[in-house]
Symmetry: C2
Subunit: 635 residues, 2 copies
C-alpha cells in the first residue's frame, strides 16, 4: 500500500528536486508577466461591471460617470505603480508590504499588513475563480447551476499544479495570458473603430437589465441628495478592485531572473500600461454600447457578443478570460505560500509553512490557501459580486502601509534625490489611505464588516503563535554543561502470558537496563497461578510482579506501581517496554487491543517515565518484501 | 481537561464497580419480565398492522382472514415457547441459538445462527424505536417531521443507560411495562364488552385508508388467482413479526437470579400468555371496528381512540406503547453485547467485545449496536413498515437452528423422556423452517433480499476474524527457552541544535547504551559548521554524525544511515531516541513538527529498530498540578 501511495504522489507531483535546482526555477520577464501580472490585468473581467452595478441604481444619466470614474482609478493606478517601482529597487530580494511595513514602521503595522495580505490572497483566488467560471457560464448558460462545483474543481487543479513547482506552472500558463491580451486588444480596437464609424450593431441576444433585487441584496438603495454622492463614491470604490494585484510584482522580485530589480520594474511598467488600456477600453465600450450588468451574463461577455458577434472569436474571448482569471488565482498561489514562509521564519506562523517540499514549492501554504479559497467560494455560492466587497479593503490597507513604510525608508536612507522619492511615496500613501477609508465606509453593510473582524482575528492568531514560539525557545534554551549520565533505570514490561511479542520486549528490556521487571495485572485469579508456574519454568532471570485489579482496569495498577517506585525513591527513571503488534492489513488493527497506545497516553504527562513500543511484525517475511519495494520507490 | 472528562464520565455512568458486584446485578422474575419479554409483548404495536396492510390489498372481504391468520401465529408461538422451555432447562447458563447450534450442529450452523442473531438484535432496536416514535407521532401529528431525530435521540439515551449497567436499567424500566400490560388489558376488555353490547362508536378522527402508493412501494400488487394465496402467505409472514423476541428469555437465563432455569421458565410462560392474549385481542378489535392502516396513525392508536375515546387514557396508552417499545429495544441492548462477548471469547469477534467495562456492562457491544441501529433508522427514514421485511427472517432462521440443535442434544443425551422432547423440538424446527422459507419468498422484493446478502457477509467477517486470531496465536506461540540477552545496541539521537529536549533525549540515550550517536541532517551547509563548533564546546562524549540531505528530506537520510549500520553488521539492534514536545494546549501541537511521529511511522516496518520518544513537557509545573487532579479524580 505504501508503495502505491508513493507511486501516485510521483505521478501527480513528479520526482523530488534537489535544493540546487532553486535558481533554475526562477522566472524570465515574459513568464513573470504571465504569472505575476495576470491578477491585475484580469480584473477588467469584473471591475467595470461592479462600477456599473452601482451606477445603474442612480438611473440612466448616472451611467455617464463610468468614464470619469475609470479615469480617476487609472490615475491612481499610475501613482501606485510608480510608487512600487521605487520599492522594487529598494528591496531587490522582494519587498512585500509585510517586509516594508515591518522593517520601517515596526512590528504592529507589519502584522496588519500581513493579515491584510493573507486575507487578500485567499480572496484573489475566490474572486478570480468565481469570475472565471462566470465567463464560462455566460457562454454556456446551462452550466450555471454547476458553478460552485466548477469553481472548486478549478481550485483543486491549481493546487496540484502548484504543488509540482513554480517554473512549470509558469510555462503551462504563459500562452493563455498572451492570447487574452491579444483578444482584448482586438476587442477594444474593433469596438472603438466600429463605434466611431457608426456601424449598425447586431441586436442583443440577452436583454441587458439591472436586477433590482440583486442590487438591493448588495446593500444599494435608490438615492436622494447626499446619497447620490455616497453612491458615486461606492461606484468608485467598486471600480478600485481593478487595482488589486498591482503589488504582486514587488512582492515577487525574488522570483525573477537576475538582474531581478530591473526585470521586475520593466514588467511592472508593462503591466500598468496594459491594465490601464484594458480598463479604460472596457469602460468606454460598456458605456458606448449601453451594456448593463445582467444576472446571467457578465458585462465583458455582452461586449464581446456585440463587438465580435456570437461566433468563434467570442468563445475564444470567454475561454481566454477564464484562463487569465485562473492565472490570476495562480498569482496568489505564488504569493500566499511565500508570505507564509516569511511569517513562519519570523515565528508568526507554524514552522511547517517555512520549509519547501519535495518539489521546492511551499506545500503547506499551497494546500491551506486552496482549502480557504474553496471554503469561501462554497459559502458565497461562487457569486463574484458578493465576494468583492470583502476584497479590495485589504489591498488598500497594504498599499498604504507599504508606501508609508517607504517614506520612512527614504528618511532613514537620505541618499541622492531621497526627498523627491519620499514625496512620491507620501502622496501615494495618502491617496491609498483615503481609498481604504472609502472602501470600508461605502461597502461596510455589503460585507466589508466581515473583513474588519477577520483581519484583527488573524493578527491575534499571528501574535499568539509568536508568543508561543518565544516562550518555547526561552524555555528550551540549554545553558548547562554535559548532561547527567548516571541514573538508576528501572524497566517495566507489562505481560499477560509468554509469547513471541512478550519475549521480544523482554530481550529489548534486558538490553537497556539491569533492573527489569515483568508486571502482570491480575483481573481474574485463576490465570495468575498458571502464569506464575510457567514463568518459573521459563527461568529468564526477570522477576514477575503480580498486581491485582479489582476494577478490571489494566492501566490504573501499572500507573500506581510506577508512581510507587518513584515515590519510594527506588529509581530515577522508568521505561515501560510494551510489545506492539503490527498487523499486515489495516483492518487487523481493530482486532488487537491498543495497549501500547493507551500506556503511552497514560504516561505522557509524567516526568521521568518513557514508554517504548517494541514492534512485533505479524507475517514478517511478506513485510520485508513490501519494504524493499518501498525503498525502491523512495530512492 | 483530562480531569473534567473523567468527571463527566463519572456523572454519566457512575463510579466503576468491582468485579464481585456481578452477582448482585442479576434480575428477579418481575424485572426480567420487563427487561426480557418486552420485545415479544411490544410487537402487538405493529404485528396486526403489518398483516392488515397486506390483506387490504386483497379487498374488504379478505380482512376477515386477520382472525384465522392471528390464530395460526398464536399456535406457532405456543409451540415455540414450549420448545424453548426445554432449552432453558437444558442450558441453565443461557442457551442462545448460537450456543445451542454450535454445541450440537457444529461450527457453521453456529455461525449462521450468530450472524442471524446479530442482524436481528440491530433490527429489534431500529424497528422498536421507529414503531415507538410512530405511537408518539400518532398522538401528536405535528411531531411527524422530526421522527428520525426522535428515533436517534431515543437510541442515544438507551445507549447511555445501558453503559451504566443492566440492573439499574431493569429498575428504571419495570414500571412502564406493567402500565402497558394494564392498559392493553383495559383496552381489550373494554373493546370486547362494548363490541358485544353493540354500543354506538364515536366517528373516526382520522379517515382510515389504505395508501395504494405505499402498498405498491412495499412490493404489493392487486392479486388474481394464485396471487391471492401468495398474498395470504405474505400477510401471515408479516404477522409472524409478533413472535420476534420469544428467544430472548432462553438467551438470558444466565441473567436471572438463582434458580435461574425455573425462574426463566416461569417468566417465559407468562410472556407467551400475555403476548397471545394481546395479539389475538388487537386483531379481533381491529377487525371488529374495521380499523385500517393509515399513513399518519398506527392501527393501535386508532383502536385506542375508538375504544378509550381521545382523552387521558388514550394518551396514556400511546405513552405506554412508546415506553414498552423502548424497553423492547433495550432487550437487544442486553443480548447483542452478551452474544458479542461470547463470539469474542470464541475468537469470532474482536477481543475488545469480550471484556466488561467500568460498570460491568459490555461497553463496546452497546456502542456498536447503538451506532448500527441509528444508521438503519436514518437510512430507512424511521419507517417501521420498510424495516419489517428485513426483520423476521433472521429470527426464524435462529428458531430453526436452535430447535434442530435441541433434537441432536436429546439424541446425544437419551435421558428419561428424551424421545418426547426430541419430537417436540423436531416439530418446532420443521414448523419454523417452513415459516423462514415463507418469509424469504414472500418478502424478497420488499427488502428481504438485503438480509440474504448481509447475513452471509457477516459470516464471512466472523470467519475472517477467526482465521486471523488462529494464525496470530500460532505465530506468536513461544516455545524457546530464556531469550537471548547479549546484543550490540546502537542508539541514534536525531538533533538539530542544543536544547533542553535534545539534552533530555541524550541523557536517556546514554542511560540505555554505551554506543550513542547524535545525528544531524544537513539541509543547509551554513548552520552545520556552527552546530559542530557548539557541539565540540559542549563536550558530552557523544559523537555528532552529519548526513547531507540534498532533497531536504529529514527522514530519508536517517533511514539510510540506520540501514547502512545494519547492512555493514555494525550492530544488532538500533534504538532511535527522539525528543517529543508535549505542549500544554491542543492547538500548540500544530506549531511543532511531528518528527517523533514521522520517525516512528518510517521505522515501524523494520525489524530490529525501536523508536523511543522521550517526552519534553512544556510548562512542567502547571502540568504536574493537572496530574494531581487527574489522579484524585481517577482514585
Amino acid at each position: 500500500m505504501t508503495s502505491s501511495i508513493i507511486g501516485f504522489k510521483r505521478l501527480l507531483f513528479g520526482r523530488p528536486l534537489p535544493s540546487d535546482r532553486l535558481e533554475h526555477e526562477r522566472l524570465n520577464k515574459k513568464t513573470a508577466l504571465a504569472v505575476l501580472s495576470s491578477d491585475a490585468i484580469s480584473s477588467v473581467a469584473y471591475a467595470t461591471e461592479q462600477t456599473l452595478l452601482v451606477l445603474a441604481v442612480l438611473g440612466a444619466a448616472a451611467l455617464n460617470y463610468v468614464i470619469p470614474i475609470s479615469a480617476v482609478i487609472v490615475g491612481l493606478l499610475v501613482l501606485v505603480a510608480v510608487s512600487y517601482r521605487q520599492t522594487i529597487f529598494a528591496y531587490p530580494a522582494g519587498g512585500g508590504s509585510y517586509t516594508v511595513a515591518r522593517d520601517n514602521l515596526g512590528g504592529s503595522p507589519g502584522l496588519i499588513a500581513a493579515a491584510a495580505l493573507l486575507t487578500d490572497y485567499i480572496l484573489t483566488v475566490s474572486v478570480s475563480i468565481s469570475s472565471g467560471v462566470a465567463a464560462i457560464t455566460s457562454a454556456y448558460p446551462s452550466l450555471a447551476p454547476h458553478a460552485v462545483t466548477l469553481c472548486i474543481g478549478a481550485i483543486a487543479v491549481l493546487m496540484l499544479v502548484n504543488l509540482r513547482g513554480v517554473r512549470e506552472s509558469g510555462i503551462a500558463f504563459s500562452v493563455p495570458t498572451y492570447v487574452f491580451i491579444a483578444l482584448m486588444l482586438l476587442l477594444i480596437g474593433t469596438g472603438i473603430v466600429r463605434g466611431l464609424m457608426g456601424h449598425e450593431l447586431a441586436p442583443l441576444t440577452s436583454t441587458p437589465h439591472v436586477d433590482a433585487v440583486s442590487a438591493a441584496q448588495h446593500g444599494l438603495r435608490i438615492p436622494a441628495g447626499f446619497a447620490f454622492t455616497y453612491l458615486l463614491l461606492r461606484a468608485f470604490a467598486e471600480g478600485c478592485v481593478a487595482m488589486t494585484g498591482t503589488e504582486a510584482i514587488s512582492n515577487g522580485v525574488g522570483a525573477f531572473r537576475k538582474p531581478s530589480s530591473r526585470n521586475a520594474a520593466a514588467t511592472l511598467g508593462w503591466m500598468a500600461a496594459i491594465l490601464a488600456t484594458f480598463f479604460l477600453g472596457t469602460s468606454y465600450l460598456a458605456h458606448h454600447y449601453g451594456v448593463m450588468p445582467g444576472a446571467s451574463e457578465t458585462v465583458l461577455s455582452q461586449i464581446g457578443r456585440h463587438v465580435l458577434g456570437g461566433g468563434g472569436l467570442y468563445y475564444a474571448l470567454q475561454y481566454a478570460t477564464f484562463a487569465v482569471l485562473v492565472l490570476a488565482a495562480n498569482t496568489a498561489f505564488a504569493d500566499f505560500p511565500r508570505l507564509s514562509s516569511i511569517l513562519a521564519a519570523d515565528g508568526y506562523m507554524p514552522r511547517q509553512f517555512a520549509a519547501r517540499g519535495d518539489r521546492l514549492a511551499f506545500s503547506n501554504g499551497i494546500i491551506v490557501l486552496a482549502l480557504m479559497a474553496a471554503l469561501l467560494v462554497w459559502l458565497f455560492h461562487g457569486d463574484t459580486s458578493a465576494l468583492i466587497p470583502l476584497y479590495a479593503i485589504g489591498v488598500f490597507i497594504c498599499f498604504t502601509l507599504s508606501q508609508a513604510g517607504m517614506v520612512v525608508h527614504w528618511f532613514k536612507l537620505r541618499d541622492d534625490g531621497w526627498q523627491r522619492r519620499a514625496w512620491l511615496n507620501g502622496i501615494g500613501a495618502a491617496a491609498t489611505a483615503a481609498v481604504a477609508v472609502v472602501q470600508v465606509v461605502t461597502k461596510f453593510t455589503a460585507g466589508a464588516w466581515i473583513v474588519t473582524i477577520i483581519i484583527p482575528l488573524i493578527i491575534v492568531m499571528l501574535r499568539t503563535i509568536h508568543r508561543h514560539y518565544e516562550r518555547f525557545s526561552k524555555e528550551v534554551a540549554y545553558t548547562g554543561q554535559a548532561p547527567l549520565m548516571f541514573l538508576h533505570h528501572t524497566v517495566i514490561v507489562p505481560v499477560n502470558g509468554i509469547s513471541k511479542p512478550t519475549a521480544g520486549a523482554l530481550v529489548y528490556a534486558t538490553t537497556i537496563s539491569e533492573d527489569v521487571r515483568a508486571v502482570y495485572v491480575e483481573v481474574d485469579g485463576a490465570s495468575t497461578e498458571r502464569l506464575q508456574a510457567e514463568w518459573e519454568a521459563w527461568d529468564i532471570g526477570v522477576p514477575l510482579v503480580v498486581i491485582p485489579s479489582p476494577f478490571r482496569s489494566v492501566l490504573r495498577p501499572i500507573v500506581d506501581y510506577v508512581q510507587g517506585l518513584a515515590e519510594r525513591g527506588e529509581t530515577d527513571l522508568v521505561t515501560i517496554v510494551v510489545p506492539e503488534i503490527v498487523p499486515r492489513h489495516w483492518w487487523e488493527h481493530l482486532l488487537h487491543n491498543k495497549t501500547a497506545l493507551f500506556i503511552r497516553t497514560a504516561f505522557i504527562f509524567r516526568p521521568n517515565v518513557v514508554v517504548t513500543a517494541v514492534p512485533y511484525l505479524v507475517g514478517r517475511a511478506r513485510r520485508l518484501r513490501d519494504l524493499a519495494e518501498y525503498d525502491e520507490a523512495i530512492a
